[in-house]
């Protein structure tokens, strides 16, 4: 579930508010958005892809809150890893042309 919206990193672009399928975030007038409905989070990690500032952290636990430690996540460079591993840049799709998944589709056939 979503556990962190880093106030230090957030630029207030509100892309997460627009991208979240379950409307977890809420925009605020003249301020950065907040996590308003964490319990509605479906742990799909999409918000991390759409955050250009690497300010969001979705914990892998889908059904319980486990508080995130921003300092530790910053230190071990966890913030933004999903976007980096996908090859996305600045909240924009990149890297689908480098996707090697086709290499094992043949192995799956007949399943």
């Amino acid at each position: 579930m979503i556990e962190l919206l880093s106030e230090a990193r957030c630029t207030g672009c509100n892309l997460c508010v627009r991208a979240c399928p379950t409307n977890v975030f809420e925009a605020r007038e003249g301020d950065i958005p907040v996590i308003a409905r964490a319990d509605d989070c479906q742990t799909c990690f999409m918000c991390e892809l759409y955050c250009p500032a690497d300010a969001l952290y979705v914990s892998p636990f889908a059904e319980r809150h486990v508080e995130a430690d921003e300092q530790a996540l910053t230190k071990n460079e966890t913030l933004g890893t999903y976007a980096r591993n996908m090859g996305w840049k600045g909240a924009k799709p990149h890297g689908a042309d480098k996707d090697p998944t086709f290499r094992f589709r043949a192995l799956q056939r007949g399943e």
Binding site: A19, P21, M46, P60, R64, A96, D97, P100, R105
Partner: protein, 491 residues
Amino acid sequence: MLVDKGACGTSGATASANTGVWLVPPDAESRTRAIDARHAQSGGLARKELMANVLETTLQQLSRLAEWGFPFPTDDSGLQYRANLRGADYMAFMRAQLRRAKVTILDHSPAQELLLDDGAVVGVRGYRLQQESAYSVHASAVVLASGGVAFLSKTLGCDVNTGDGLLMAVEAGAELSGMEFSAQYGICPAYSSVTKGLPYFWATFTDEAGRVLEGEPNRMLLVARALQDGPVYAVLDKANPEVQRWLRDGQPNCFLPHDRLGVDPFSQRFPVTLRCEGTVRGTGGIRLTHDDGRTRVPGLYAAGDAASREGLTGAASGGGAPNAAWAISSGSWAGHAAALFARAQPQRNDDRALRGAGVVGLSPSGETGRVSARDLIEIARAEVLPLHKNLFRTRERLTASLVQLDSAWRAASAHLHATGRARVRAREATALLATARFAYRSALARDESRGLHRRLDRPELDPQSTHHYATSGLEEVQVRPYHYTSQGASP
């Protein structure tokens, strides 16, 4: 106009997936071989003519995607590999195409009921979550592409898939079909949401004591049976270093849970569970009366997971690749047919007497406030998610579940009411109860085991039962057997 319950481009099963697409070269021999192989898995319920049409349309539509500039990878022969789509990129790309075509997109705007005029669907009414305001759209035709139902199981990206479209279709007078083929589950690290099956091709599964689980080629069943006795673990120890690299590069979200917990899934075992994928990877949905996406209600069309895929995959799941091909082809057919239908409709005045088709969760028959949407959702989930009730079915347990579900439905019908944002949750509760009842009534009617529908008390396939089951009705659910008959009108 496109209204999306979530956000168009990130919402639904595909955006967070990386899906194969059923794509076969156009020569007759390849096509016949592919169709025969799939048909053999369909329990006799698929139709080869439809399968051939899906293959042809999918090939054409993927070529269009390439023409529009989707960045497919290049294989070793230097050609684009188009039989795989990375979901987040694909859905973002499709959103951009909609914008380019000047389609108005309303995000975070769940449709809540269809509008009817003289028996025909003429629009939709819903709620804009971020504007906190109701909306209505008048349209000469509506295509429901609202996805299937995964019963809020937390299977990846599917909490928006609560069967809302199935409920709305039945309220408007449409039928569903194949709802008994709804018991599909995805393997997932026990605590997480990532139900992507691909890595488990290289997995060894063990029980608590470390004994290797064997003797069942279907991994879902292997894990399901063992979970009845205790925890199950997986380790991806069959992946060589090269495959490990491809998995990490190709499926980054599969490794987020492990990396964030400091587990090396290639050498350390991790607990796994099964999450219900309902009709998202199952097969049932809105019954199309024609392959062009029509339902039996004038002006109402359905596509993708919202529509029954029995003609393509029969009683089987199909898995990601046929399901993606179905979304692509049924979507283009339904869009085309709906546009033709709309164009042929006379111009109507907007002051006509429109009737909202929705009832339960909107207009209670009794005193309001005695039931909560949350409680009703939990009742539906408690009957549909457990393996021993849904995956391993018996007449006795299905009947017992229906007692609970019918009782909850009556309570919802009498008392469920909410306004504003809370009404969205109330309609989700209504949709979950309705679709659970459709699934289990169909499962009782199909007195045999076939494909995804497994009845422990009827373990054999009945060679006579080559018909489909259509379901309809809300207060009383009706189930009727039928045989598909071609009504002309190929797409």
